[in-house]
Amino acid sequence: MDFALNDIQQMLKDSAGKFIHNDYDFETRQKYSHSELGYSEDNWQLFAELGWLALPFAEEFGGLDGNATDLMVLMTELGKGLIVEPYLSTVVLAGNAIQRGGTAEQKEALIGGIVGGELKLAFAGLEAQSATDISSINTQASTAGSGLVLNGKKQVVLHAQSADKLVVAARSHNNNGNIALYLVDANAEGVAAHHYPTNDGARASDLTFTNVAAELLGDSDDAAAVIQAVLNDAIVAVSAEAVGVMDKMLAATVEYTKVRKQFDVPISTFQILQHNMVDMFMECEQARSMLYYAAITIGGGNSEEQVAEANKASQFLKWKVGQAARLVGQTAVQLHGGMGVTDELDVGHMFKRLTMINTLFGSMDIHLDNLVKQRQAA
C-alpha cells in the first residue's frame, strides 16, 4: 500500500501548484472571470504546452493515458486558484466522452485538436430535471434524410459559450429509448444559445436544438455506461477541486484569525474558534481520504464488479465532499466575520465555488437518497 505520488503525478502537482501560485492570484482570476471570454486564452495555450489538456487521452492520439488519480492531483492544485478555464467541460467531460465512446476515426479527428489547445468542447449531458438520472433525458435524436438531427433543450451547459463542438446526450434516433451521445457543431444551424455568467465566476448556457445536424458518437447508440464513467471522472475532478479549495480556505482562516484582533487578543485564542477550525481540518482530511478512495477505485478497471464499485465510490465521494464543503465553507465565512461576506475577499468566492460544486452532478442529498434506496432495495 502506498499513497505517495508517482513521478508524473509529482510533476503535475508541482507545475500546477507553481502556475496557480505565480500566475493565478485572486485579482488575476477575477479579471479573467469578468472578461468577455470569461477566461484566459493564453492560459489555455499554456495548459496545452504543459500537457494538462492531454491528460486522459490515449497515447496513440497524443494523450498521456492518465487516470482518475492523475486527474485528482491536477485538479486539487487548479482548484486552489478557482480556475475559470473550461478544463472540466473540454477535457474531463466532453473530451473524456470522446475518448471513452468515440470511434477510432472520431478520436483521430478530434483528440489532437483538444490536446493542442485548438478545440474546445462542452458536454450537454444531463438536463435540469435529471440531477443524476440520465433516464429522464428528453432531448430526442431522429433520422432526417441521410443524416441525424437533434431536437430538445439542455440547461446550464458549462462553458458552451467558448465551445467549438458539443457532446450531447439524447434519446436514440433508433427510437428504442436508449440514451446515446451525439456530436454537434456549437455554431450549427438550429442551435439557439443563451449564455450567462454563473455565480462561481464561470460561464454556462441554455441551449435549444431545433433540427440540428448531429453525428452519433461511437458505434453504439447505448452510451449509458460511457456517460456514467464520464460522470464518475467529473465527480473526482470537481471533488478534487473542492479539496484544494477547502485546504486553501482552512489555511486562510487559520491565518486570518491569528492576525485579526478583538478584545485586545487575536481571535484565534478563543477556544470555540479553535475547535471550529479543528472541525474544518478534520473535514478536509476526511474529504481527502474519500477522494483517494474514489480516485483509486474509479481509475480501477472495467469488470462489472469494478464498475459497480466505481459508481458507488463516486456517490460516496460526492456526498462526503458536499458535507465537508458545507462545513468548511460556512465556518470560514463565519470566522472572517463581516469580511467573509464581501466580494472583495477570495474566501467568499471559494465559498461560492464550493456551494456550486455541490449542485453539480447531483447534490449530496440526491446521492445520499440514492444510496439509501439502493440499500433498502438490496
Binding site: T198, V341, F351
Partner: protein, 398 residues
C-alpha cells in the same frame, strides 16, 4: 396556558389582513418569493402606508404615536405581514434609534426626530461597527472632540447597512479615554449631509450594494445632537442591542418561507429536481419545520413575559441564535430546490428593466446569492458566538 385568539383579536386579525390586501401591490409581494431585498422607494412607500394607518410605531409608546398593541396583536401583525409577503420596516429608525431617543433623549430631541421617523420622512442608519471594532464594539475609535457648541468627529464606521440611502446616522463615538473603554463612549446623531461625511460602497457576495463604509473627516456636529449624557452611550446602546436581538428571530418570515417551500415541493416548477420523493431532503425540511415550531413558542414565551412588564432578558439571546440558524437552513433548502438553476448569475433578472430571456424557474438564480448574503445573519447583531458567550455568562453564570 392558552393560545387561542379572543373575539377582539380575531377582529384585529381581519383588519390586518384587509390592510395588506388593499395596500400591498403584487409586484411588491413578488420580492419575497424571489429572495430579493426591497428597494428604498418600495420600502418607504410601505412605511408611509403603515403610518397613514397609524401602525408605524409598533413597539412605540402611545404618547409618541405608537400603536399601544398587546404582544398578541404584535404577533398577529407580524404573522400576517409575513404571510402577505410585505416588506420589513427598516429597523434603524423605528426600532433602534427611536427607542433610544424616546427613552434617553430630551424633549427637544423627541420633538425634532420622532415624528419624522414615524412618518418615514427620514432614513436612519446605524454607525457602530468599525474596521477594528466588530465583536469588540467597545474598542471603537471614532472620536468626537468638544469644540464650543460642536463636536468635531473623526473616524471610520463600517458595514453600515443601507447608509447610502440614509439622511441620518446614529453613532457610538469616543469622547474620552478615561476609565474603562465603555465609559468613554457617547451616543451622537449625525446629519449625513454634513461636510466631511463620505460614503463608500462595500459589495457583498450577492454582487449587490447593501453595506457601506462611512468616513468622518472633521465633521462638525452640534452638541444638541448628543443623546443623554456624555460617556453614557454604551449603556444606552446595550438597551438597544437587546431590542435588536429580539426582533432578529424572524419567526413569521421563516414560517412564510417554509410554507412557500412546501408549495414548490408540491408543484415543482419545470426544471427543478423532484425532491418530494427524496427522503433525505424531506427529512431536512421537516426538521426545520419542527425547530421552527419550537422557536415560535420560545418567541411567544418571551412576548408574554414582555406583556407582564418584564424587559426582554438575556434569555432572548436564544431567539437570535436559533432564528438565524433556521433562516440559514431554509436558505440551503432553497438552493437545493433550485437544482442546477442555482448556477446562473443574472441579478438583472430582478431589476426593473428585467433580463431577457428570463431564466425559469424565476426564483432559482437568486437562491444562491440569497444564501451567500444571508450568512450575515449569524455574524451581525452580535455574532452567534458572542451571543453564546452572553448566555454562558448571564444565564448560566459561567
Amino acid at each position: 396556558m392558552n393560545i387561542n385568539f379572543s373575539e377582539q383579536e380575531l377582529a384585529f386579525q381581519q383588519e390586518v389582513q384587509t390592510f395588506f390586501r388593499e395596500k400591498l401591490p403584487e409586484s411588491v409581494q413578488a420580492h419575497i418569493d424571489n429572495g430579493l431585498s426591497f428597494s428604498a422607494e418600495v420600502t418607504v412607500a410601505y412605511q408611509k402606508a403603515l403610518y397613514n394607518k397609524g401602525w408605524a410605531g409598533i413597539n412605540w409608546p402611545v404618547e409618541h404615536g405608537g400603536t399601544g398593541w398587546t404582544p398578541t396583536q404584535k404577533y398577529i401583525f407580524q404573522t400576517e405581514s409575513a404571510k402577505a409577503k410585505a416588506p420589513r420596516q427598516i429597523p434603524f429608525g423605528y426600532s433602534m434609534v427611536a427607542p433610544i431617543i424616546y427613552t434617553f433623549g430630551n424633549e427637544e430631541q423627541k420633538q425634532r426626530f420622532l415624528p419624522d421617523i414615524l412618518a418615514s420622512n427620514t432614513w436612519w442608519c446605524q454607525g457602530y461597527s468599525e474596521p477594528n471594532a466588530g465583536s469588540d464594539l467597545a474598542g471603537l475609535k471614532t472620536r468626537a472632540v468638544r469644540d464650543g457648541d460642536h463636536y468635531i468627529v473623526n473616524g471610520t464606521k463600517t458595514w453600515t447597512t443601507l447608509g447610502h440611502h440614509a439622511d441620518w446616522i446614529f453613532c457610538l463615538v469616543r469622547t474620552s479615554d478615561e476609565g474603562s473603554k465603555q465609559k468613554g463612549i457617547s451616543f451622537l446623531l449625525i446629519d449625513m449631509t454634513s461636510p466631511g461625511v463620505s460614503v463608500k460602497p462595500i459589495i457583498t457576495l450577492d454582487g449587490r450594494r447593501e453595506v457601506n463604509e462611512v468616513a468622518f473627516q472633521d465633521v462638525k456636529v452640534p452638541v444638541e445632537n448628543l443623546v443623554g449624557e456624555e460617556g453614557r452611550g454604551w449603556t444606552y446602546a446595550k438597551v438597544l442591542l437587546t431590542h435588536e436581538r429580539t426582533n432578529i428571530a424572524g419567526v413569521a418570515v421563516s414560517k412564510q418561507r417554509l410554507s412557500a417551500l412546501y408549495d414548490l415541493l408540491n408543484q415543482p416548477p419545470a426544471g427543478c429536481p423532484d425532491l418530494k420523493n427524496n427522503s433525505v431532503f424531506m427529512s431536512r425540511v421537516v426538521q426545520v419545520e419542527m425547530e421552527l415550531k419550537a422557536l415560535e413558542f420560545t418567541d411567544l414565551r418571551v412576548l408574554s413575559s414582555v406583556s407582564t412588564g418584564t424587559a426582554p432578558g438575556p434569555e432572548s439571546s436564544i431567539l437570535k441564535i436559533k432564528g438565524t440558524e433556521i433562516q440559514q437552513a431554509l436558505d440551503e433548502l432553497y438552493v437545493e430546490i433550485a437544482g442546477i438553476y442555482a448556477l446562473p448569475f443574472v441579478p438583472e433578472q430582478y431589476d426593473e428593466a428585467g433580463y431577457e430571456p428570463r431564466i425559469e424557474p424565476f426564483f432559482a438564480p437568486n437562491a444562491a446569492p440569497h444564501y451567500y448574503n444571508n450568512r450575515k445573519v449569524t455574524i451581525y447583531g452580535g455574532s452567534n458566538e458572542i451571543q453564546k458567550n452572553i448566555i454562558a455568562k448571564q444565564v448560566l453564570g459561567l
